[in-house]
C-alpha cells in the first residue's frame, strides 16, 4: 500500500467538467454561423481575413507566454475567440497587415499588458477595432457590398444614415439588413446568424441573458423615443436593430465574462449604460457606429459597478429588489410617452385655437365687421407677422400687428394693435400681461383704450401725461400705462415702417 503516492489538496475533490477551454471553444462554435454568413456574403477574402486574425492572435499570445516564461496557454481558446471576434469587426477588404496589427494590439497591448486572461479591463477585440478605426479611418469605413465580385464598396447603412440622412437609409429593406445582404463588417451584417449562434450560449448558460436584453432594449427604447418624436429625422428602432454592430456587440462583445460585472445588478446597469451610449453616439455622435465606444466606456465602469454591488455586504440581490428603480424608470418612460402622444394629438387643435383667439382679438379691435376670408397674413423683412384685412376689391381696410413691451410692472405685456390704412389707431387688445390685478390690468379697460383711438404716430407725443404726453395714465399704475403706451407706439412704428414707408418711397 505504501507505493501509492497520495496527492493531498483541499476539498472539494470532484469538479464539474467545465473548463476555460470548454467555455472558449463553445463561444467559437457559437461564432461559426456568423463566420459562415460572412464567407457567404463576402467571399473567400473574409475567410482568409478571419484565418489571418486568429493565427496572429494565437501567435502573439504564444510569444508573450514565452517572453514572460509562463506555461504555454495560447491554445486555451481565448486568443482564438479574440481573433475571430476582431475579424468579424473588420471590413472584408482590409489589408492583411492592418489585421495583424489589430491582433497585436488586441492580444499584446490590451490583454497581456494588463495581466493576461482575467485581468484585462477592456474587451481586446473591441479595443483593437477602435484602434484601427482611429488609425485608419479610410480603410475601416468603406464596406464592400455583398456578392460584389470586384469589391465595390459603399458606406454602411448607418454611415448613410449619418451622412445622407434618413431618406437614403430607408432604401435598404429591413429584411435584407436582417439576413445580412447589406454593407458592413463581416460579423455585423447578418443579424440572423448572430442570433442563431447565441442560442447555444444561452442554453449552456455561458453568457448571461441580462446584458444582451438590457443593452438591445435600452438602444431600441432610446432610438424609439426619438423616432416617434421626429420620424423624418431619426431612423426606426427596427433599423437600428438590424443594421450596424448592435447585435454583434450585445451578444458577443458585451457578454465577454472578463470585462463585464460579475453580479446581476451590475450587469443590468452595464447593459442599460451601453444601450444608452450607443443610442446617443448613433443619433448625435460623430461616428456612425456607437456600439464599440459604448461598450469600451462601460468596460471602464465595471470595477465601479462591482465595487458598488460588493459593498452591499455580499447580500445576493434579486431583480425584485431593483423593482423600485425599474418602476420609477417605467413610470418616467410611460408618462413621457403619454405626454408625447397627447402633445402629438393636440398639436393641430392648439394651433387652430390660437388662430381663433387671434381672429377673435382682431374682430374686437376693428370697428367694422369682416369675415375670416378677408384676413391675410403678411410678413416683413425680419419675419414679423401682420394681419391685413382686405375689402372685396382687395384694397386694404386695416392692419393689425402683435407687439410687446417688457417695461410692464409685472413683466412683459403683449398686445394686438389695429391701425387704419392711413395710420390712425383703431384700438388694441391686450393678449397677455402680468400686471398687478386691480391696478395694472386696467390697461384692458375700454376707457383707457379709447384714448388711443384715432391717434397717428407722428401727430402726438406718445407718452403719459406725467411725461407731458397725451395719455392720461391710470391712477397708481403709471408703469403699466407707460408700458401699454410704449407697446402701442411700437406697433404703430412697425406698421408705419412696413406700409407707409414703402408707400412713401
Amino acid at each position: 500500500m505504501e507505493n501509492t503516492k497520495l496527492i493531498v489538496s483541499y476539498p472539494p475533490y470532484t469538479k464539474s467538467k467545465d473548463s476555460i477551454e470548454k467555455v472558449m471553444y463553445t463561444v467559437v462554435f457559437a461564432l461559426l454561423p456568423a463566420v459562415v454568413a460572412a464567407v457567404y456574403f463576402f467571399g473567400l477574402r473574409a475567410l482568409a481575413l478571419i484565418f489571418v486574425c486568429s493565427i496572429s492572435a494565437i501567435g502573439f499570445e504564444y510569444l508573450i507566454n514565452v517572453f514572460r516564461k509562463q506555461e504555454i496557454a495560447c491554445f486555451d481558446g481565448s486568443a482564438l475567440v479574440t481573433g475571430i471576434l476582431l475579424a468579424l469587426n473588420l471590413p472584408s477588404n482590409l489589408p492583411y497587415w492592418m489585421a495583424v496589427l489589430g491582433s497585436f494590439v488586441a492580444i499584446v497591448v490590451v490583454k497581456q499588458l494588463f495581466g493576461g486572461l482575467g485581468f484585462n479591463v477592456f474587451n481586446p477585440a473591441l479595443a483593437a477595432r477602435v484602434f484601427l478605426l482611429i488609425s485608419f479611418p479610410v480603410a475601416m469605413t468603406i464596406w464592400p457590398i455583398p456578392f460584389s465580385v470586384d469589391m465595390q464598396t459603399a458606406a454602411s447603412p448607418l454611415g448613410i444614415l449619418k451622412t445622407e440622412g434618413l431618406k437614403a437609409a430607408n432604401s435598404i429593406t429591413l429584411w435584407q439588413a436582417f439576413i445580412g445582404n447589406v454593407g458592413g463588417s463581416l460579423g455585423e451584417t447578418s443579424a440572423l446568424a448572430l442570433l442563431l449562434g447565441s442560442v447555444i450560449l444561452f442554453w449552456k448558460k455561458y453568457i448571461t441573458w441580462i446584458i444582451p436584453v438590457s443593452f438591445v432594449g435600452a438602444t431600441l427604447a432610446f432610438t424609439g423615443i426619438f423616432h416617434y418624436m421626429e420620424p423624418l429625422k431619426y431612423a426606426s428602432p427596427a433599423f437600428h436593430f438590424t443594421c450596424g454592430g448592435l447585435l454583434l456587440g450585445a451578444l458577443f462583445m458585451a457578454t465577454d465574462m472578463v470585462t463585464t460585472p460579475v453580479s446581476k445588478r451590475g450587469q443590468l446597469i452595464f447593459g442599460l449604460g451601453c444601450g444608452l451610449l450607443t443610442g446617443i453616439i448613433r443619433l448625435f455622435g460623430g461616428y456612425p457606429e456607437g456600439v464599440s465606444f459604448a461598450i469600451l466606456i462601460m468596460n471602464a465602469f465595471v470595477p465601479l459597478l462591482d465595487k458598488w454591488d460588493n459593498y452591499s455586504n455580499g447580500k445576493k440581490w434579486r431583480l425584485t429588489k431593483m423593482r423600485s428603480v425599474i418602476v420609477l424608470t417605467c413610470i418616467g418612460f410611460f408618462s413621457a410617452f403619454l405626454l408625447y402622444m397627447t402633445d402629438n394629438i393636440t398639436k393641430e387643435p392648439i394651433k387652430k385655437a390660437i388662430e381663433r383667439v387671434k381672429v377673435e382679438a382682431l374682430r374686437q379691435i376693428f370697428p367694422f365687421e369682416f369675415s375670416d376670408k378677408d384676413i391675410n397674413i403678411a410678413f416683413d423683412k425680419n419675419g414679423k407677422e401682420f394681419f391685413e384685412i382686405k375689402n372685396k376689391d382687395n384694397s386694404l381696410r386695416g392692419i393689425a400687428v402683435e407687439t410687446s413691451s417688457d417695461k410692464g410692472y409685472g413683466g412683459e405685456i403683449t398686445i394686438l394693435v389695429a391701425v387704419s390704412p392711413d395710420g390712425k389707431v383703431f384700438n388694441y387688445n391686450v393678449l397677455s400681461h402680468k400686471e398687478t390685478p386691480g391696478l395694472g390690468n386696467k390697461i384692458e379697460n375700454e376707457a383707457f383704450k379709447k384714448q388711443f383711438n384715432g391717434k397717428t404716430l407722428d401727430g402726438f407725443n406718445w407718452k403719459v401725461k406725467k411725461d407731458d404726453g397725451f395719455v392720461d395714465e391710470l391712477t397708481a399704475a403709471t408703469i403699466s400705462s407707460r408700458a401699454a403706451t410704449d407697446a402701442v407706439k411700437k406697433g404703430l412704428e412697425v406698421i408705419s415702417n412696413k406700409y407707409f414707408v414703402e408707400n412713401k418711397k
Partner: protein, 300 residues
C-alpha cells in the same frame, strides 16, 4: 520711453507681491522642531516596528524628546546610533544588530516529504489539511509565508527550506509572526554564531525516522559546552545566546550535525567574551595567544 513702462509695471508688481509674501510668512508661521524632521530623514523609514514603536516618525519624536540613549533602531545598527548620538549630542549605547535564524534544517535531502501537496503555496494554508508538507510536523514547511512578509528580501527558499541572507536581514522581526511553525528566531548578529537547526519535540527515535539531522536530544552537546550555554528541553537542544562564546565545540560533538555555524564578517567587531585560562579547543588557537582587546573582546 516705451522701455520704462514694462520696468515700472514689473518692479511695482514684484514689490507688492513681495510684501504679501512677507505678511503671509509672518502670519502663518508654524512652529515645528526641525530636529525631529532631520532625525526622521536619517531613519531607514521602513516603519518595521523593530524598535518597539509603530513607525519611524514616533521613534524619532520620542528619541528627540526623551534623549534616551537606550532607544535603538536595530535596522540602522551601530553606525545609525552613532550618527543620531552626534546630532542629539548624547552617547548612544551600542545597538545590538539582530538577525534572523531558522531553527530547522529539513530540506529535500535531509527529510522525506509527506505527500504530494497540491494546493495554495502558503504555510498557513497547508496546516489546514496536513501537519506539514514534510514528515516532520514541527519543522519549516518551506512555502514562504515569511519570504513574502520580509521587506528586505533577506529570506529565500532553497530546495524546500528557508535560508536567511545575513547581509539583507536587518532584524526587524516581521517574519517571526508569519511562521505557523515558529521556527524563526531573532538573535544577535555575530561574526560567528552557532544555533541548533531543529525544533522537533519528538523523542529521538521518532525524529530520526523522518529527518536525518534532526536533534535527538542525546545531551552530548550539553556535556561538551564549558559555558553551559546549551540545554535540552523536551528532546531538543537550545543554545542560550548570552552565554555562548561561539567556540563551536558543541557543533563538533553533535552526532547528527544539527548545530549550524553562520558566519557573517560584516558584524560589528566588538564581541564580548570571558577569558578562560584553559584552551577550550573551540577556535583554532588558545585564548591566551590571541590578542584580546583591553575590554576583553576577541580581536577578529
Amino acid at each position: 520711453m516705451t522701455i520704462l513702462t514694462p520696468i515700472l509695471i514689473l518692479s511695482a508688481l514684484t514689490f507688492i507681491l513681495g510684501l504679501c509674501i512677507l505678511l503671509a510668512s509672518k502670519k502663518f508661521h508654524v512652529k515645528s522642531d526641525p530636529l525631529i524632521d532631520t532625525v526622521i530623514l536619517m531613519l531607514p523609514g521602513a516603519n518595521c516596528g523593530a524598535c518597539g514603536y509603530p513607525g519611524c516618525a514616533q521613534f524619532a519624536e520620542i528619541l528627540v524628546k526623551t534623549r534616551d540613549t537606550s532607544k535603538i533602531c536595530p535596522v540602522g545598527g551601530n553606525d545609525l546610533s552613532y550618527e543620531l548620538g552626534r546630532i542629539l549630542g548624547i552617547k548612544m549605547d551600542d545597538a545590538k544588530p539582530l538577525s534572523c535564524i531558522v531553527l530547522c534544517n529539513g530540506n529535500k535531502t535531509t527529510t522525506k516529504f509527506l505527500a504530494d501537496y497540491k494546493g495554495i503555496h502558503d504555510c498557513w494554508a497547508v496546516k489546514e489539511i496536513l501537519p506539514s508538507v514534510k514528515q516532520c510536523a514541527y519543522g519549516c514547511v518551506g512555502l514562504g509565508s515569511c519570504v513574502e512578509a520580509c521587506k528586505y528580501d533577506a529570506l529565500k527558499i532553497v530546495d524546500g527550506l528557508i535560508k536567511v541572507i545575513e547581509e539583507n536581514c536587518v532584524g526587524c522581526g516581521v517574519c517571526i509572526g508569519k511562521c505557523p511553525q515558529h521556527v524563526l528566531k531573532l538573535t544577535e548578529k555575530k561574526v560567528k554564531k552557532y544555533h541548533v537547526a531543529c525544533s522537533s519535540v519528538d523523542k529521538g527515535a521518532i525524529t530520526r525516522k523522518y529527518c536525518t539531522n534532526g536533534c535527538i536530544g542525546c545531551m552530548l552537546c550539553v556535556k561538551a559546552c564549558k559555558f553551559d550555554a546549551v540545554k535540552v528541553e523536551n528532546f531538543c537542544a537550545i543554545i542560550d545566546d548570552s552565554k555562548c562564546v561561539n567556540c563551536g565545540l558543541c557543533a563538533k560533538v553533535c552526532p547528527v550535525k544539527c548545530i549550524h555555524l553562520t558566519e557573517y564578517a560584516m558584524a560589528s567587531k566588538k564581541i564580548a567574551v570571558k577569558k578562560t585560562d584553559d584552551n577550550c579547543g573551540g577556535c583554532e588557537m588558545p585564548c591566551s595567544v590571541k590578542g584580546l582587546g583591553e575590554d576583553g573582546t576577541l580581536g577578529y
